[in-house]
């Protein structure tokens, strides 16, 4: 099996790049490949534990009916999925980017690193994909 490193840069709720990246992580894990995710800049808010669901007056939906999909839940689901399959998934945030945004409170399993860690992930990978923001 291969090891893949994926860099994400877009913040949550702003870009189709985000679900695309999550879909690729999901697909790689399903095939048994190890995945390193490095979140840079706005993407470090993806795992922010303070994300909250809300009702949606325009949809006429309650919190339960809307079931708003916060990306922190997607990260938790992917980490749980990887553990269940016994496939390695590292979800690492750029620490300074976290501090800038005040999103230190992250869901369990998300770690903190630097561009040097991202470089080490790349060096240890068979494939690298950076999804930069526009």
């Amino acid at each position: 099996m291969a090891t893949i490193t994926i860099g994400i840069m877009d913040p949550p709720y702003e870009s189709a790049n985000t679900p695309t990246a999550f879909r690729m992580v999901d697909a790689a894990l399903r095939k048994g490949h190890a995945v390193n995710v490095f979140c840079y800049e706005g993407a470090t808010a993806l795992g922010f534990a303070g994300q909250k669901q809300h009702p949606n007056a325009v949809h006429g939906a309650s919190i339960e009916e809307e079931d708003h999909p916060n990306p922190k839940e997607w990260i938790k689901a992917l980490l749980a999925f990887a553990a269940q399959r016994q496939v390695k998934l590292v979800w690492c945030n750029c620490g300074m980017c976290v501090d800038e945004r005040g999103v230190e409170d992250q869901v369990p399993g998300v770690c903190r690193g630097s561009p040097v860690d991202a470089w080490k992930y790349c060096e240890g990978s068979d494939g690298v994909l950076l999804i930069g923001t526009e």
């Binding site: 949550p12 709720y13 702003e14 870009s15 189709a16 985000t18 679900p19 999550f22 879909r23 992580v25 999901d26 894990l29 949606n56 007056a57 325009v58 949809h59 809307e66 079931d67 708003h68 999909p69 916060n70 990306p71 839940e73 997607w74 938790k76 689901a77 992917l78 749980a80 999925f81 990887a82 269940q84």
Partner: protein
């Protein structure tokens, strides 16, 4: 009270996370608050006019993601009395036939955009 026109260019920007298009949602919320609004879909956003969209089936690990229902949202905009226009040439360039559109959407030529803009006091470009 001013007349507002929301011009939406990009489609699918964050619709999975938001479960809707944020520009269309914002415009609908303005209408609910009493504003006089209209919507123009152009460029990739004309895809929102298609009747048989289906974004269901997404799943991350064991977690299913409900996803947006753009047909519901576009129909709700029309039901609210918000005029909704789509650019004919942008539909044609994407191979979208008139028969595929959600009923009630008015098609206008690209050459008609300037006149539509002139008919409104405030333009919100998304």
């Amino acid at each position: 009270m001013g007349r507002y026109l929301s011009i939406i260019d990009s489609a699918g920007r964050a619709t999975i996370e938001e479960q809707d298009d944020t520009a269309l949602w914002f415009t609908h919320a303005m209408k609910n608050g009493g504003a006089e609004v209209a919507v123009l879909l152009r460029a990739d956003a004309v895809n929102y006019a298609v009747l048989n969209q289906d974004a269901r089936g997404l799943r991350f690990g064991a977690r299913a993601v409900k996803g947006p229902d753009m047909v519901r949202d576009v129909k709700a905009v029309l039901a609210k009395g918000i005029p909704l226009y789509a650019v004919v040439e942008d539909l044609a360039e994407r191979g979208i036939a008139s028969s595929q559109l959600i009923p009630g959407i008015e098609q206008i030529p690209r050459s008609g955009i300037a006149r539509l803009v002139e008919g409104h006091d405030r333009i919100l470009t998304w």
